[in-house]
């Protein structure tokens, strides 16, 4: 059919009229209604949906905050406090937005962790994974610029330290820093452009999230067993099975979120950011927001400035090539006894780096950071490529339905190839 109305089976006549001309309801039904989804997800598979909800919360609260916020170095701090005091439920908007950033990173870190543990980055999902890394980088940039906006001491000095990192690059470094600052120090021009970009980047994130989901719906989801569904007995329609499961996860997520917002709204922040920015007074310890601490620890673990900056960026950029560093055909760590332990140790190294990043740059934290950072990189660059060759994986289950239902019907032909080799 080259052209003409779409053949819609939407029952409602009004919706059908639209659907025949623009089949978005058919598409929604296909992608979110009947979309075949592996039947064996555990609760780690909630975090993609949670991240989506979190992004929408951030955009919604952010738009309302921007209506009351003044991006000027002499007024920004007081305008934020005005939101807290005089705007109707402004304190709620701001605390949801500020803690929403922390929740977003918690959710996304778990989402990334799940991808690494169950091998979701492996073929055919490499591009899906790489788009996820792009989203994470955009999130980091957005969160960093958002933290600058209240123009407190940590805003100002965090911005100074982080933007100065770019000066480590030879030749273009100073030029990049001047461009970021819009002048020769962190000042009003910096605040203005950060506000503008902080408003822009979330919509770029929305765009890349869309691509992330498009890619997901081509390859289909991975699952805890890491083997592909072999037929309809291995999958369930997304609705109502996973809409129901995601709904429960969403409420649990809201409980944690509400606990932070209503009872510990400043727990994850830093008291110094309630002191107005003062270019003449440097805080005793400049620390970024908690979600940057692992990368901050890697930066400080390297004695050379350029080396530290490269290692810091490299610690995330290495994720891009993860699908090609780990050549093992087995996805899920459940069936990789050695890689599983190595990956759990990598998780420990990440948490150790997070802890060290919040400590002053002195012993023993620097040495601990160095060991943790060394393991962080060794896992990707040495251990995974090596294990791809030498590790003997455990036998994989014949199919998802076999593993879940304990001996359901096997489709003809599926039994002929018991090992899934991606």
């Amino acid at each position: 059919m080259a052209s003409g109305l779409h053949n819609s089976d939407i029952p409602n006549p009004v919706l059908r009229w639209i659907d025949q001309r623009m089949p978005i309801f058919t598409m929604m039904q296909k992608e979110y209604g009947s979309f075949p989804t592996p039947r064996n997800f555990n609760y780690f598979w909630n975090f993609g949906a949670l991240a989506m909800v979190n992004l929408m919360i951030m955009i919604a609260t952010g738009i309302f905050l921007a209506m009351h916020y003044t991006p000027h170095s002499s007024m920004a701090f007081d305008s934020v406090e005005r939101i807290m005091r005089d705007v109707n439920f402004g304190w709620l908007l701001r605390y949801v937005h500020a803690n929403g950033a922390s929740m977003f990173f918690i959710v996304v870190y778990i989402h990334i962790w799940r991808g690494m543990y169950y091998g979701s980055y492996k073929a055919p999902r490499e591009l899906l994974w790489m788009l996820g890394v792009v989203i994470f980088l955009l999130m980091m940039a957005t969160a960093f610029m958002g933290y600058v906006l209240p123009w407190g001491q940590m805003s100002f000095w965090g911005a100074t330290v982080i933007t100065n990192l770019f000066s480590a690059f030879p030749l273009v470094g100073e030029w990049i820093v001047t461009l970021l600052w819009g002048g020769f120090s962190v000042d009003n021009a910096t605040l203005n452009r950060f506000f503008s970009l902080h408003y822009l980047l979330p919509f770029v994130i929305v765009g890349v999230v869309f691509l992330h989901i498009v890619a997901l719906h081509i390859t289909g989801s991975n699952n805890p067993l890491g083997i592909e569904p072999k037929g309809p007995q291995d999958t369930l329609p997304f609705h109502p099975y996973y809409t129901a499961k995601d709904s429960f996860g969403l409420v649990i997520y809201f409980i944690v979120f509400a606990g932070l917002v209503f009872f510990a709204p400043n727990y994850l922040g830093h008291p110094d950011n309630y002191i107005p920015a003062d270019p003449l007074v440097t805080p005793a310890h400049i620390v970024p927001e908690w979600y940057f601490l692992p990368f901050y620890a890697i930066l400080r673990a390297v004695p050379d400035k350029l080396g530290g900056v490269l290692m810091m960026f490299g610690s995330i950029l290495v994720w891009f090539v993860l699908p090609w560093l780990d050549r093992s055909p087995v996805r899920s760590m459940r069936f990789r006894p050695i890689a599983r332990i190595c990956f759990l140790l990598w998780t420990v190294s990440f948490l150790v780096l997070l802890w060290c990043g919040g400590k002053p740059a002195e012993e023993p934290y620097v040495t601990i950071s160095r060991f943790a950072a060394a393991y962080y990189f060794a896992y990707f660059l040495v251990i995974l490529p090596l294990l791809s060759r030498i590790e003997k994986p455990l036998p994989l289950p014949e199919s998802i339905s076999r593993a879940v239902l304990g001996g359901g019907p096997l489709p003809a032909g599926a039994a002929a190839k018991p090992m899934e080799k991606a």
Partner: protein, 255 residues
């Protein structure tokens, strides 16, 4: 399923627990917890204490410390009547204008005015205080590690320095101030103010009251936040039960 969700919780807990490590800077003295009424998820402000704290602020602290984010009208939230707030506001002279002739003029304060600042600018504040800048106290309880407990500790932490500690000229020893040398002289002395409710004006009482007042000034939304939070969490717990029941029902034939 339970095992993995426990694992997820453990990771989340780890992330949350590691976060305040970022703040555990400074080798400062341990700040004792005073058990203020506003602490905890059900905490509310002790109105009488906060009102006395405002009296201490206006008779003692406000000689040097501004609170430029506060308006006199905010005091009504502490239980003061409209007349009382208007009377308090009218005791100060504020600059207004320009008038029709283009002149600035002084007039008595109104409830809508911000608290009058003791100094016109930071330079004047430094000149009058031996080079030190008395910080604005509007959000001080949020701007210091330990919050109100720190304020109480600081105000009661003056004393003679230990023999091995050298105190610079014009500085004072304080057990809780980071570095132990503070430019502010001991601000509270016994019976410095007279409370209308006959509360004894001991240093401890005044420190406690002013810490309560400053906490209220920094977080005027705290009571509403707590009461909303309780309702929302209870609602979400019920909703979680329902959502789980729905999930179980839907999945009943899928396992």
């Amino acid at each position: 399923m339970l095992r993995t969700s426990l694992k997820a919780l453990a990771i989340l807990g780890g992330l949350l627990a590691a976060a305040p490590a970022a703040q555990a800077a400074e080798g400062a003295a341990h700040i004792p917890n005073q058990g203020f009424s506003f602490q905890g998820p059900f905490g509310v402000y002790d109105r009488a204490s906060a009102q006395r704290g405002f009296q201490v602020y206006s008779q003692v602290c406000s000689a040097c410390h501004a609170m430029h984010l506060m308006s006199y009208r905010n005091l009504r939230d502490l239980g003061l009547t409209e007349q009382q707030v208007a009377a308090i506001a009218s005791q100060v002279q504020v600059q207004d204008g320009p008038n029709d002739e283009g002149q600035m003029f002084e007039r008595p304060g109104r409830p809508s005015d911000r608290f009058r600042s003791p100094f016109p600018n930071p330079q004047a504040a430094r000149a009058a205080n031996n080079g030190a800048l008395p910080p604005d106290l509007s959000v001080i309880a949020k701007a210091r590690e330990g919050g109100a407990n720190y304020i109480y500790a600081l105000l009661t932490g003056y004393g003679d320095p230990p023999p091995d500690v050298h105190i610079a000229e014009g500085m004072h020893y304080n057990a809780y101030f980071p570095g132990h040398q503070i430019a502010m002289a001991r601000p509270l002395n016994p019976d410095q103010v007279e409370f209308a409710d006959h509360t004894p004006a001991t240093v401890e009482n005044m420190a406690r009251d002013v810490a309560t007042f400053l906490q209220w000034a920094a977080e005027p939304e705290l009571e509403l936040r707590h009461s909303m939070g309780i309702k929302i969490i209870v609602f979400l717990l019920v909703l979680a039960g329902l959502a789980y029941a729905v999930k179980r029902k839907i999945w009943a034939n899928a396992h």
